[in-house]
């Protein structure tokens, strides 16, 4: 299921927006014009990961060496500082077993959304939905009135 979560222009480069989609809290990040979405829940102990600080990538071959790329792609959980790569959800502290759920984000023209069959302009309560606000349809504009002119960020929640 695809959900419209923001206008594309709403999240500036380096910025983020935390949205509630299909009963999940999700952080949508703009890295230099590319958009990525991560579950706002740290796989370690459930901290609000997407509220953490963004850092550059730092590498080192030997003590005292710092190879720094100021890309601000590393998200540190505000609870325990565990690091995750925004692009992939990959953990950097136990990469073989830890990964935060990431979701596909696409930028979709308002026109395309408007022409989709089951577009709604506001959340519709569905008694079968696992949580309030979750609705059926290929696109759901949670709180977003969609106009044909704009561009929108659409997050896909599988299942």
């Amino acid at each position: 299921m695809k959900y419209v979560v923001a206008e594309a222009s709403e999240i500036e480069s380096g910025g983020r927006k935390i949205v509630s989609v299909a009963g999940r809290s999700i952080g949508v990040f703009n890295l230099d014009g590319e958009f990525f979405a991560l579950r706002n829940r740290c796989p370690h102990q459930g901290g609000k990961l997407c509220e953490g600080k963004l850092w550059g990538v730092i590498r080192s071959e030997r003590p005292g060496d710092f190879e720094y790329r100021p890309s601000r792609e590393i998200l540190c959980c505000p609870w325990h500082g565990w690091e995750f790569h925004v692009r992939t959800g990959q953990s950097w502290c136990a990469p073989e077993r830890l990964r935060v759920r990431r979701y596909e984000v696409e930028t979709v023209a308002g026109e395309e959304i408007a022409e989709a069959a089951e577009v709604t302009a506001a959340p519709i309560e569905d008694p079968d939905a696992p949580s309030p606000g979750m609705v059926k349809g290929p696109y759901t504009a949670e709180t977003y009135p969609v106009s044909r002119e704009g561009e929108y960020l659409v997050v896909e929640i599988p299942g």
């Binding site: 080192s60 071959e61 030997r62 060496d65 500082g81 690091e83």
Partner: protein, 336 residues
């Protein structure tokens, strides 16, 4: 069997006279300076052991103890000497004495280079001088040092040890200017003796976090008389904090426990054994590798329990074999 920790007694100052430059002999004869402190243990205490010669060591370690090879160290505390030239001269004379009186006399005995660790550059010179001599397999580094061993001050020394192909043997004791506990000077030897595990834990943390093993990927370290039951919980804590704080030390690219298991081995004596032997088996299991422990008698120091007996009764035969000889043989690259 390989005994990874036996001691040869400290030289008496007059043993070193034929090996010291003449002006230092005159200096010792004419002043109150009588060389380094004799022992890290209180004189005549049971842990201080007795002063035996080569014949007694042969009998106890090889004939009765059943070792094929034994790795010895001499705990002459040149790290307690403040005069840098005296410290370096005493270390050099002690090493020449070890070669001549012990290692050349007994082919089953291996030795440890004594070095003035408080002066890293002088220590490196002494290590280079002795590295290729027959018998020396490691450098003796007292656990208590003036700075944590991971400090950048010591990195050139670690590089020298790595290049020399010797193992760095970090051993109970040390006589730097610093107190032996993290909170100052204790009143009784019992406190110092018990707190030595904390000193080892601090040195392990320092070496891993400050990147000694990243700077020196071939460095091998053995802990002697450190105890080992404190190690699993310490590694758990270090791994946990590394996840939070590794950005500050990005050269630490793997969990600290990985570095420990790759670079460090630990002698089994003295054993800080729990009252229930079954718990000891759990701790050995928690170390997370069968390659880490080395049989050690600590001859001639006498401990309350025979660590080897207790462990070999408790552990599976295959692990016992590794602890008795295979781990040391492989770590010290002894062949056979």
């Amino acid at each position: 069997m390989i005994d990874a920790d036996v001691h040869i007694p400290n030289p008496r100052l007059r043993d070193l006279y034929p090996l010291l430059p003449e002006h230092w002999v005159e200096h010792f004869n004419n002043t109150v300076d009588k060389g380094a402190s004799q022992e890290y243990y209180p004189p005549r205490s049971p842990v201080a052991g007795r002063r035996g010669g080569l014949e007694e060591l042969r009998e106890a370690v090889f004939d009765q103890g059943g070792a094929e090879l034994a790795i010895s160290s001499c705990l002459y505390a040149v790290d307690s000497v403040h005069n840098p030239d005296v410290a370096a001269a005493l270390a050099a004379a002690t090493n020449d004495w070890q070669s001549r009186e012990w290692l050349e006399q007994e082919p089953r005995l291996r030795g440890s280079v004594v070095a003035p660790i408080q002066l890293p550059a002088a220590a490196a010179e002494e290590i280079e001088r002795c590295a290729d001599r027959p018998g020396f397999v490691q450098v003796l580094i007292p656990a208590r040092t003036e700075h944590p061993l991971g400090s950048r001050l010591y990195h050139p020394l670690w590089k020298t040890i790595e290049r020399s192909g010797l193992v760095a043997a970090i051993h109970f004791g040390g006589a730097p200017v610093m107190p032996p506990t993290p909170t100052g000077w204790p009143s009784f030897f019992l406190e110092e003796y018990t707190a030595m595990a904390q000193v080892f834990a601090t040195q392990l943390t320092s070496m891993i976090v400050e990147g000694v093993f990243d700077a020196c990927p071939d460095l091998r370290v053995v802990f002697l008389e450190s105890g080992f039951t404190w190690i699993p919980s310490h590694l758990w804590r270090m791994d946990k904090e590394w996840r939070n704080l590794r950005r500050l030390v990005p050269w630490v690219r793997r969990p600290p426990s990985d570095y420990f298991r790759e670079h460090v081995r630990v002698g089994i004596q003295p054993l800080d054994a729990p009252p229930d032997p079954a718990h000891l088996g759990e701790v050995v299991d928690q170390l997370g590798s069968d390659d880490l422990l080395l049989y050690a008698s600590d001859y001639p120091h006498v401990h309350a329990c025979d660590a080897g007996d207790l462990l070999f009764r408790l552990l599976p035969e295959s692990l016992g074999r590794k602890i008795r000889s295979e781990n040391a043989r492989s770590f010290y690259r002894m062949g056979g």
